[in-house]
């Protein structure tokens, strides 16, 4: 008997188990071989372990048994009206190629899939799955060893998404933007997944955005798998602006090869509760990974950023900087763990989480960890939580700048330290503008 089975299942878990059961017949028929095996394993793991809860260390501050009160039904198939609304609502980044997902489903009509740059292929996940092993052979191979219930659900249920490949040597300067918009007026759950495979010495920029209808408690479960081959350079930007009632759960898995550059930036302002689990693995030496984020939340929002970075090989560098701004009763969570394995000599890792608490009732939980098994490394971490500096505010006000505007300038400067790592000018300016918009909305 599995001990876990004795924990009473929550309503949401029962609904998810029913959904998994309902889908299993179709899966088993359609997906032979490894994909079918992967899904079955994910279903079984979820059936045995259920939703992650506070007694699981990595989910201590984000207890899904409490947060996910009920599991929404899957979103209905797309119609033209929803697609048009998604097209209208989705953010645009000047110069980027946009692919649109509405209610968790690819909107072919409003996706710019024509005239792809040489060396770039973009295949809808559904087609890739139907097409057999070749296209999806790497799918699921970056999953963490420990059970992650959110990822298990994604693996078992994601039918929609993309498989993106960048051929070795391709230098693609135009960012690819995958926009997700939720348009329905009743809650629904979406499961999306993307695999990005960047070939050796290639260069690529991936932008992802998540938005949705205000006032609707929809549920997003999204996963992204990134392979950065030797010598490749990948920039990744993730913008999560889901509705303030939505739940947003994301799993990011990345593996970097020899002499790679991988920079990821996350802007988080949306969702009632959000969690990003980022699993990074250094598979080749002399790689540089930079992970940064700016989170601005208010009201009763809960935003969790959890990282696990695995320095498996020597001579790699990692830099993490996460800035969290918490207004009202908002709660922020940062958990960052850097593991340096015995072979990973000369590892250079620096991790920093800083939080700015704007209200007495805001809360930040910071948990940085280092697990070092090699003896010749440079690793450091830091975590702070504090309020706006009264002396800085006074200086600005003494020059005639009203209190709210002065606070805005200081908050902008605070998150700006992380945003400035976004290299591409247009994207960086767009992110700054979105942070400014958040501040303006708060000041009204």
């Amino acid at each position: 008997m599995n001990v876990q089975n004795q924990i009473p299942r929550t309503g949401a878990e029962q609904a998810l188990l029913a959904l998994l059961d309902q889908r299993s017949g179709a899966d088993d028929a359609a997906l032979a071989g490894r994909m079918g095996e992967l899904r079955r394993a994910a279903r079984d793991a979820f059936a045995a372990n259920g939703l992650p809860h506070r007694r699981v260390e990595e989910w201590k501050y984000t207890d899904l048994r409490a947060i996910l009160r009920s599991s929404a039904p899957l979103a209905a198939p797309l119609d033209a009206a929803a697609e048009a609304e998604g097209q209208f609502r989705a953010v645009t980044f000047p110069g980027a190629r946009r692919i649109l997902f509405v209610n968790g489903q690819l909107s072919r009509a409003h996706s710019d899939l024509a005239g792809l740059e040489p060396g770039l292929t973009v295949v809808p996940l559904a087609s890739a799955l139907a097409g057999g092993q070749g296209a999806v052979e790497k799918l699921g191979t970056l999953a963490p060893q420990r059970y992650d219930g959110v990822l298990a659900l994604n693996t078992a249920l994601a039918e929609e998404g993309l498989v993106i490949r960048v051929e070795a040597g391709a230098q693609i300067t135009r960012p690819l933007h995958v926009a997700h918009v939720f348009t329905l007026d009743a809650p629904a759950a979406t499961f999306t997944r993307r695999l990005l495979d960047v070939g050796a010495d290639a260069r690529f920029t991936l932008v992802e955005s998540f938005q949705g209808r205000d006032g609707v408690a929809y549920q997003v479960n999204d996963a992204l798998e990134l392979f950065v081959a030797d010598g490749a350079h990948l920039d990744h930007v993730r913008i999560q602006e889901d509705s303030a009632e939505a739940l947003h759960f994301a799993s990011l898995m990345a593996e970097t090869g020899h002499k790679t550059q991988f920079h990821s930036f996350a802007l988080t302002t949306g969702a009632l509760a959000s969690r990003v689990s980022l699993y990074g693995r250094f598979a080749g030496t002399h790689a540089h990974v930079g992970l940064r984020g700016a989170t601005l939340v208010k009201g009763r929002q809960h935003a969790d950023m959890t990282l696990l970075l695995d320095h498996a090989v020597a001579h790699c560098e990692s830099r993490e900087l996460f800035k969290t701004v918490l207004a009202d009763e908002a709660r922020g969570v940062f958990q960052g763990k850097i593991v340096v394995r015995p072979d990973a000599q000369k590892t250079d890792g620096r991790m920093m989480s800083r939080a700015l608490l704007l209200g007495e009732t805001a809360e930040m939980d910071n948990k940085p960890e280092l697990e070092i098994f090699a003896d010749d490394v440079q690793c450091g971490h830091g975590a702070t939580a504090g309020e706006l500096d009264a002396d800085l505010l006074f200086y600005l006000k003494a020059r005639g700048i009203p209190a709210k505007e002065a606070e805005g300038l200081l908050i902008q400067a605070f998150v700006g330290e992380a945003i400035e790592f976004v290299e591409e000018d247009g994207l960086r300016e767009a992110i700054i503008a979105r942070a400014e918009a958040w501040l303006k909305a708060r000041a009204i």
């Binding site: 200086y395 600005l396 003494a398 020059r399 005639g400 700048i401 009203p402 209190a403 400067a413 700006g416």
Partner: protein, 251 residues
Amino acid sequence: MALLEIKNLHAQIEDNQILRGLNLVVNPGEVHAIMGPNGSGKSTLSYVLAGKEDYEVTDGEALLDGQDLLEMDPDARAAAGLFLAFQYPIEIPGVATMTFLRSALNAQRKARGEDELSTPDFLRLVKEHAGRLGISQEMLRRGVNVGFSGGEKKRNEILQMTLLQPKLCILDETDSGLDIDALKIVSEGVNALRSPERGMVVITHYQRLLDHIVPDVVHVMHKGRIVRTGGKELALELEASGYAGYGQDAA
């Protein structure tokens, strides 16, 4: 009407009484120097007038152009024409100096019901005055005071003062940390702002600054009050005799 009128001002910080019945009248066009030993309350006076929260006014009043300063928030005091040049200007990483100057200027204009300055007009104005104070374009692009030397920070204070054109300038130990060349540049900047409409209160421990910014009136402050008032020759006398008569050895 007096530009600044302070009557019987009492202020404390954390139960520590610092100002104990201070009186001061500054008329338009006048430059007043306030001298005094360390701990006499000079800087407290400047902070209380500018509205720093840490200080509690327990009695008395302070009027700027007849308006009750003590009832106003710090930004409203600035918009009403008060400017404090800080003894220790602080660094604000991430807020570019140009953004800061522009926010300050436009906020004050807005508070007074004036239009915001256009970008070209603003840039022209800053360029003109920054050049005169030896502040480079590169410094203006940096965070406010970030990486500035002590002298550069003080020059940046004078630049702000010049752009904001206040009615009343309070200079809190502007000479501290300045070498003689920087002192000259800063003094020239201050003297350029002297006008029949504007008043200045120059707080200093040393007479040296007053060779460059020549005051009309000199006050000696001691234990939270003005204990002596005279002409510019009073500063010279203090330079010779020190503050020994005020409970402290010559500095």
